[in-house]
């Protein structure tokens, strides 16, 4: 690895001071599972690295007012995978955490790192998009909240300015009768990268679809929502035929490329299949659980 200076702050304020002083020359490291490989292969050569492992405030994972969720940026994939409240109320998020890397990687990899690395295939992005999460971003001049849907601006690019850092993901409370699921397709379950990932989240109101969210990974430069597919569901009783129609519409939201993991046609096919499957499970979970009580 290229040499760098390592700074070990203990608070968010200290992090922000360093980021402001180093004006674009510093890189924040949380779990390191994306950053270190990129530094080892020379893709990134930051002169200064700011380690977040001493900032305990970033590891908080707790119920917010009204039983939404506050997820500190340094919460690990493993913590999301195992947390009882996340598993029962936000299962799509727990499922995405469980799919990252291997257990050795999940114990390091963080939700903030997964989002800030901004790979089109980021597994934790689709469920958080489907849950209407907001990114809480801190800077020396104060903090701002950005809907996650506006957080990604391109492949490996986010709205974060060099002197800013992601500190928390804020997930609003779900209504009763809400359910979600995240599925991805990979040749191998562990240590693989999504050919396509789909998260669906449904809320039922008086037997019809009150709210629908469908988010896709690995089919565009950034994780994206399938807005037309969501619209087709809202206000309707959800039937297998309607799910099929939404799955068809979700394909139109995908702008995939062909690469070593899959062709355009294969990815479009996977969007249809995984949207259908996740909507079916989301519906079942919405009917049977009273999620977000």
């Amino acid at each position: 690895m290229r040499r760098f200076e390592l700074v070990l702050p203990r608070s968010i304020d200290d992090c922000l001071k360093i980021l402001a002083e180093r004006a674009g020359q510093a890189k924040v490291v949380a779990g390191g599972t994306d950053l270190l490989p990129q530094m080892k292969n020379g893709l990134l050569k930051p002169p200064c690295v700011v380690d977040l492992s001493g900032v305990g405030a970033l590891r908080a994972l707790e119920r917010a007012n009204g039983h939404g969720l506050r997820i500190g940026a340094s919460v690990t994939a493993r913590a999301l995978e195992l947390d009882p409240h996340v598993r029962s109320t936000f299962p799509a998020l727990a499922e995405s955490g469980a799919l990252v890397g291997s257990v050795q990687v999940r114990n390091l990899a963080t939700v903030g790192g997964n989002l800030c690395n901004a790979a089109p295939s980021a597994d934790m992005a689709p469920p958080l998009l489907a849950l209407d999460a907001e990114a809480v971003i801190a800077g020396v001049k104060g903090s701002r909240r950005v809907p996650l849907a506006s957080f990604f601006v391109g492949v490996r690019r986010t709205v974060l300015a060099p002197e800013e850092m992601l500190v928390e993901l804020s997930v609003p409370a779900l209504g009763p009768h809400s359910g979600g699921q995240y599925l991805r397709h990979t040749p191998r379950r562990e240590l693989d990268i999504a050919v396509v990932g789909v998260a669906s989240q449904l809320t039922l109101t008086d037997g019809v679809c009150g709210k629908a969210r469908i988010a896709l990974a690995s089919v565009a430069p950034t994780p994206v929502r399938a807005l037309a597919a969501e619209q087709a569901l809202i206000g309707q009783p959800i039937t297998p035929a309607l799910i099929e129609r939404a799955a068809e519409l979700a394909v139109d939201a995908a702008r995939p490329i062909s690469d070593q993991r899959g062709s355009v046609d294969y990815r479009r096919h996977l969007v249809r299949v995984l949207t259908r499957r996740t909507l079916t499970t989301a519906l079942e979970r919405a009917r049977h659980g009273t999620r977000g009580e």
């Binding site: 690895m1 290229r2 040499r3 760098f4 200076e5 390592l6 070990l8 490291v29 779990g31 390191g32 599972t33 270190l36 490989p37 080892k40 690295v49 380690d51 492992s53 001493g54 493993r78 890397g101 291997s102 257990v103 050795q104 990687v105 114990n107 390091l108 379950r189 562990e190 240590l191």
Partner: protein, 160 residues
């Protein structure tokens, strides 16, 4: 670039050692502390040969900066069992699991972490528990047999 002082607990001993800011935990363990059990296979977290426990949880030590282990507890294969063989090591020996042996310290640390959280894992749970560890000799079948047997013998030991 100035070295930094790493203070941590390694295999239940307090350590204090100077490390480079850009040094990984794996390199510090191997090069500074002489603990060559953890191996560097890929260096990118894909192979699991560098698996150690950090505060009791298995991690890829090639992806951890040495200084990120400050004030934390690290356990390597050398500290898995004090002065004896861990039931997992014993079962690996009896079943002749190691072939070239390079992956074995990492597999044992992953398996030990699995049994810490799940004393009687199913075969599928064992397979997923060591899914982050690659064995290029492809000796997985014997690993699974040995881990199953070690889990049973640890339960038996706990009952006695």
């Amino acid at each position: 670039m100035a070295k930094q002082i790493l203070r941590a607990s390694v295999n239940d001993e307090p350590i204090e050692v100077l490390v480079q800011p850009y040094e990984t935990l794996l390199d510090a363990l191997r090069e500074r502390l002489g603990l060559t059990g953890p191996k560097e296979g890929c260096g990118t977290g894909d192979c699991g040969a560098c698996t150690v426990h950090l505060d009791g949880q298995p991690v890829a030590s090639c992806l951890v900066l040495a200084m990120q282990a400050r004030d934390r507890s690290v356990r390597t294969i050398e500290g898995l069992a004090a002065g004896t063989l861990h039931p997992l090591q014993d079962a690996f020996v009896r079943h002749g699991v190691p072939q070239c042996g390079f992956c074995i310290p990492g597999v044992l640390m992953a398996a030990a972490a699995l049994l810490d959280s799940n004393a009687r894992p199913s075969e599928e749970e064992i397979r997923y528990g060591i899914a982050g560890n690659l064995c290029r000799c492809t000796g997985y079948t014997k690993m699974i047999t040995a881990i199953t047997e070690a889990a049973a013998s640890m339960q038996e030991g706990a009952r006695r």
